[in-house]
């Protein structure tokens, strides 16, 4: 590959930072017009630059851009540079981040119009873009890690954006802390790589693992440590618990950070480090298993949720699970493909949900909606297209990417199997089912709104519906761009297992059948006033309760991790350590001083006569003693 130097990458990264600084420092003084212009203008400029860099890459795919912005520090012979790296994988990610990011910024101008903290919101959103671009463009794991932590910070700030509500502030903290657990694994993986390979530049690490002799470290160990970090960021079992709670943030934030971009950082990391995973079959098997389990369990939970954003949150977790399944069977290109289509339709779904919530004056419970299709037609149509896309109905975007994943789950020479295929197919069916259920309960049937809410329902302003239309358009045509083929040079697809070639048409047919079966199932259950669904619910009350309780994972963590930690903190650290050991030592010292003072204080009678007598008797004794002894 030929590397060409450039300065544009630094500019792409720094533009949103400038937006953060301008809006953060001056936004409140210069008014909403200024905030809107800076907040939306700079991301759009970054998108334009990303397009320019993308065009510079040329059609051949053997050119890449490297931008060494700054030497961070050097220690001995080693030097750590803030360098940006732009190949086709980075290009796809950067275009998604800046493109979808810009759209969501524009949408936010409508959604957040009346918020008191308009400037703060855009400052945070720009800060997020800055860190996210650092993450996807960084050449070294160190730069990536700075971005990685930075997006975590931005996510925390935006989940807790309405921090007056303690529940929302707590959701922000939960996201931050859960991510921190994953980061521990990521850091350990980085240390291990640095001590054995001697560099943190990701292209060099991949090259080192591809070369012979391979580095003196188990690729699977490194792979699993890095994957643990990815688990935290991308909300995979067992660290998935933060994402549903993260829906406490403003809806455009859920669309941008918790659906389209940040949560896919883990997928990007694994795809970017594919050089390691190609030599780590055990780690890959773990990834496939965890991804598929996450996809399946999240999908089952999504079937019973009643909060419009919670359904979408579990759907996001489930789709991320699909991406990890693809990564696990070595189909890195297919994972990035799904990441790319998912960014469009999931952003569209979340923004559509935001539009619904906007129309309903803040109501999020789908049991209190229904019959919205005629009242907010633009939102309905875009939402329906995105729903069809995620369900995998051809020829929409989700069909192509999900079909690719399901196909490789069956036929990949790197661990594809009939079991993976079967579970993936069931999950795809569930996906289609719960998404159409959401569509039905929200937009069709009789209205279950209160009179007052019904009176207020209104279509969103053009800044919001316009973005919805653009994203729905992208969800429709996005799948025709074959990302796996486009990324072939960086992320070669795995070889198909022998004898499986002619199953391809069967898998495609199965995918279509599954998507339509989900649609039919949802229509049958929820079409006639949800009476059939209600009967099923009453027939399996325990199952329903477990699903509604999200398998009680939060409760289990609370009981097995939260409570013991609290007990240790309370009993050992607070009561024993702090109160008894530290405070106790100081109190004992103070008591000793006071006691000694009480004894010695007796001598101070205040009677001058006694003092004089004592002095003189002392002198007399001294004289008498010296006379005797001299």
């Amino acid at each position: 590959m030929n590397a060409a130097p450039t300065n544009l990458l630094t500019a792409i990264v720094l533009l949103p930072l400038a937006g953060f600084l301008l809006n953060g420092l001056l936004g409140n003084r210069l008014g909403k017009g200024f905030v809107t212009m800076v907040g939306c203008g700079l991301p759009i400029a970054a998108f334009a630059l990303a397009v320019k860099c993308f065009l510079d890459l040329g059609p051949g795919g053997n050119l890449l851009l490297i931008d060494i912005a700054y030497t961070w520090f050097s220690a001995g012979k080693e030097s750590f540079e803030i360098a940006f790296y732009f190949d086709r994988l980075s290009a796809v990610m950067a275009l998604i981040v800046t493109g979808v990011g810009s759209l969501i910024h524009v949408y936010s101008t409508g959604y957040m119009k009346d918020d008191r903290s308009y400037a703060r919101y855009f400052a945070y959103l720009n800060l997020f873009l800055f860190f996210m671009l650092m993450l996807v463009l960084g050449r070294s794991l160190l730069v990536l890690f700075v971005g990685w932590e930075g997006v975590g910070l931005a996510s925390y700030l935006l989940i807790g954006f309405w921090f007056e509500d303690p529940e929302k502030a707590a959701a922000g903290k939960k996201a931050f802390i859960t991510n921190r657990i994953g980061d521990a694994g990521f850091l350990l993986g980085m240390f291990l790589i640095y001590t054995t390979v001697g560099t943190l530049d990701m292209d060099r690490i991949n090259a080192a693992f591809m070369a012979t002799p391979a580095p003196m470290v188990s690729a699977s160990l490194v792979g699993i440590l890095l994957f643990f970090g990815a688990c935290g960021k991308s909300a995979q079992i067992p660290l998935h618990v933060w994402l549903p709670d993260a829906m406490a943030g403003p809806t455009p934030v859920s669309a941008l950070i918790h659906a389209a971009t940040m949560v896919t950082a883990g997928v990007y990391l694994v795809a970017r480090m594919s050089g390691i995973y190609l030599h780590a079959p055990e780690a890959s098997a773990v990834i496939a298993a965890v991804g598929l389990a996450t996809a399946f369990f999240a999908a089952t939970i999504a079937v019973v949720q009643t909060d419009i954003k919670k359904v979408l949150a579990y759907s996001t977790i489930s789709q991320l699970g699909f991406m990890f399944l693809a990564l696990g069977v070595g189909a890195y290109g297919a994972a990035v493909f799904h990441l790319y289509t998912h960014a469009f339709f999931k952003a569209c779904l979340f923004l559509g949900a935001g539009s619904v919530i906007h129309a309903m004056s803040g109501e999020q419970d789908i049991r209190k909606m229904g019959g919205l299709a005629k009242k907010i037609p633009v939102t309905f149509w875009t939402f329906a297209i995105a729903t069809a896309a995620i369900a995998g109905i051809p020829p929409l975007a989700g069909f192509f990417s999900k079909d690719e994943i399901v196909w490789f789950a069956l036929a990949s020479g790197r661990g594809g199997s009939a079991l993976l295929f079967a579970v993936a197919a069931v999950t795809a069916l569930l996906t289609s089912f719960y998404m159409f259920r959401l569509l039905w309960l929200t937009f069709f049937g009789a209205s279950r709104m209160t009179k007052e809410a019904e009176h207020h329902v209104h279509e969103s302003p053009p800044s919001m519906t316009g973005v919805l239309v653009v994203l729905a358009g992208l969800s429709t045509v996005g799948g025709f761009l074959s990302i796996p083929h486009f990324l072939e040079r960086e992320l070669p697809l795995p070889a198909v297992k022998e004898g499986f070639e002619h199953y391809e048409h069967f898998v495609v047919a199965a995918s279509i059948a599954i998507a339509l079966a989900g649609l039919a199932g949802a229509a049958w259950f929820f079409g006639s006033g949800a009476a059939r669904a209600e009967r099923v619910r009453l027939a399996f009350p325990t199952l329903h309760r477990v699903l509604l309780g999200k398998y009680y994972v939060d409760e289990a963590y609370q009981a097995w991790i939260g409570k013991p930690l609290l007990w240790i903190s309370e009993r050992v650290f607070l009561r024993f350590g702090d109160q008894r050991l530290f405070d106790g030592t100081l109190h004992a010292l103070a008591a000793l001083g006071r006691g000694t003072a009480a004894v010695l204080g007796r001598i101070q009678t205040g009677s001058l006569h006694l003092y004089a007598f004592l002095v003189l008797s002392g002198i007399a004794t001294a004289l008498w003693w010296s006379l005797r002894h001299v």
Partner: protein, 100 residues
């Protein structure tokens, strides 16, 4: 008993009376006077011993002691005055503020 020996005993007597006065009396002024008495007893003893040893330097030292004593009393009397103004009393027991 020679006159030198006599004056020696007078010095001891002055010191002893002064000491007794300091220890038993409670009036600050009286105690101060008793302390002067002790000082004079010591000075007298010094003179006696100086005569006995025929050392002129020791005799001169007595004058030095007088000067110091004068300075000392010039400080001590204002201190007593201030104390009295503060407590309106010459009784030493009323100054026992520092007892433990």
């Amino acid at each position: 008993m020679g006159s030198l020996q006599f004056f020696g005993w007078v010095g001891v007597a002055l010191f002893a009376i002064g000491l007794l006065g300091v220890v038993v009396r409670r009036n600050v002024l009286v105690m101060l006077m008793c302390m002067e008495l002790m000082l004079n007893g010591v000075s007298l003893t010094l003179v006696v011993f100086a005569q006995q040893a025929a050392a002129a330097a020791a005799t001169v030292l007595v004058f030095l002691a007088f000067v110091v004593a004068a300075a000392e009393i010039a400080i001590a009397i204002p201190i007593v005055l201030l104390l009295v103004r503060h407590k309106r009393s010459l009784d030493l027991d009323s100054y026992a503020d520092l007892n433990g």
